[in-house]
Symmetry: C2
Subunit: 389 residues, 2 copies
Amino acid sequence: MRIGNISEEESKHALHNMDDPYSSDPQRHKVLEMHTEKPFNAEPPSSLLIENFYTPKNHLPVPEVDPETYELEIEIEGRTEIKTLRLEDLKKLPKHTISTTLMCAGNRRREMNKVKEVKGLSWSLSAVGNATWTGVRLVDVLKSVGIDDTTQGFHHVHFGGLDSDTANNPYTASIPFYKALDKHGDVLLAYEMNGEPIPRDHGFPIRAIVPGTVGARNVKWLGRIFVAKDECDSHWQQKDYKGVSPSADASTIDLSKLPSIQELPVISAICKPANGESVVVKDGHITVKGYAWSGGGKKIIRVDVTVDGGKEWHVADFDHQENAEPPHHWSWTLWSARIPVAQGQKTVEIWAKAIDSSYNTQPDTIDNIWNFRGFLNNAYHRVKVNLKP
Amino acid sequence: MRIGNISEEESKHALHNMDDPYSSDPQRHKVLEMHTEKPFNAEPPSSLLIENFYTPKNHLPVPEVDPETYELEIEIEGRTEIKTLRLEDLKKLPKHTISTTLMCAGNRRREMNKVKEVKGLSWSLSAVGNATWTGVRLVDVLKSVGIDDTTQGFHHVHFGGLDSDTANNPYTASIPFYKALDKHGDVLLAYEMNGEPIPRDHGFPIRAIVPGTVGARNVKWLGRIFVAKDECDSHWQQKDYKGVSPSADASTIDLSKLPSIQELPVISAICKPANGESVVVKDGHITVKGYAWSGGGKKIIRVDVTVDGGKEWHVADFDHQENAEPPHHWSWTLWSARIPVAQGQKTVEIWAKAIDSSYNTQPDTIDNIWNFRGFLNNAYHRVKVNLKP
């Protein structure tokens, strides 16, 4: 069941505030917990998340793009010709649909912040969403400009958005050449989300969809593709989405020397019950629901849940899982588990961990993966609840 | 520096014991710690491991294969024709060399056994080795029988060895079709190991090399390839190399319903100092060395080491790492770290954890990944040592 979608609530403001670059942003659903208004970053309650709610996460103001005049530029490093494609040109290429989960590297940052303060928006566990995307394959578009996976000399493909910051710089990011040119990699230039034109908050009219890869590389309002030798030099590529050691010093570490986050690790979260909730015990059991996902096209093969600190682990049932095989399995797995609790027990702490098709699993604790940016929190999710007999 | 290689010690027994199927096994290096003699399973001391020692691990007696009469059979399910290739036919195909780590799913089982008893040989941390392998690509061989990655209807490629058990059944295993047919997947039919014909213990004359994938699918003494709809039905594919929940009951679980282990998760180990060793403190520091690796072609991007239970993590230096980019990075990373220790401290416990290019990292504890078969122990490696001033 779909509870809501941002586009349903979308409407233009009657009057624009000309001094505010965010004044023409779309209106958003009231249920969203807002982290920043400008740019808009908000997440739905975790209980709605697994009912198909789509989290908007933006770096810059939402641009107003006219589909009639929209153009996508494609440039190859070292070549002078720039190819431009209009929306109708793109739509003439073979149509392809995939279902994929997109996740922010800052998902579950709030828990990390509780261990020790981190920098960044306080995302709970809903900086993630799952949707179907329809569009054209990037491999087909690049083939039309003479680039395929045998082309030598290029290592990265850059995406530039039509949004821009106050200095008029667009949002940009890049992905490795192998991912862009992998014919099974399913990188799309999407023009539909869940069968409808992409809502403005999600990248209308074209969004780069890079399944299995951190949300930040799935560039919205796509305006430019650049095939290059080097990685994109933007702030977001070089100084932001990076993983560091728990002991890394924010003031001295040179983030630009570290590999950028692309594929995300295996993760899971408990969506129902929420932390602190009171749960009715039925026939000596409680029911726990959540999501699990792994980047890089890996499939979730098991979710283990415990309510006694790991003495006994219960294997969760899968309520929803796509059939796609790894390493081309892009969507999350929704799971539930019915767990026995001891009679008279007043509270329990529920832990969940997922195992993916490469048998990677989650780290036990946040303490040992903590990092000052609060990225990549894939430690066991732990939720304390009160039990009602 | 290479300390030793099994082949150097190899010589034929003067007399065969006709009643013993293992009587013609090669002789092995004396430094190896033997886990079983028949079939031969042994590992070198961890201190020698990172100096390039190759661990022999066999499921069945080592066959004597005459390279003059050797034939590889290739069969496609549903087709009557069986193609046979002689060694010289294989060598006519394009030659390809890769460097890869091969690891047993039971590596580091000994530590898991200490938490609670498991079934299986008590491998320490040396059920792993790194070597270069030269041969022909499986994709080229399969192309010669009309199979490529666009061929529909097949999901697995089986490998059969020329070894056999007492009931005359060969060792067999299978890998997913996508891995076998991935032109960047580097699956080889290898005829050389480190530039020499493959030693008998390692698969002479042909071994299937499936980089990034558990050792058990890298079938030695390869005699047959079978392109099939279904996975191989052998004991080793269906009832052995599987991952299960910590609470799975050995007597009731149906292992054949679980996905077989293919790609292995991220792992690291401390090779020097060994557990219980006395270490000289120099200028207030100790030096720690080890390996780190991840399956599926992922590259190690960081190794963190702590001697104070995670209060401070030190980023290790990489002493050896291949240049290959993920997801085609097959070899381990050898690392070292110089760690400060408090003056007067008598003992320390060293922990190491690796992070790979998908930002997966190791679980903190064995307790929560324990399984009755003792597979997939990729928890932090922890080594207690005495400090000598």
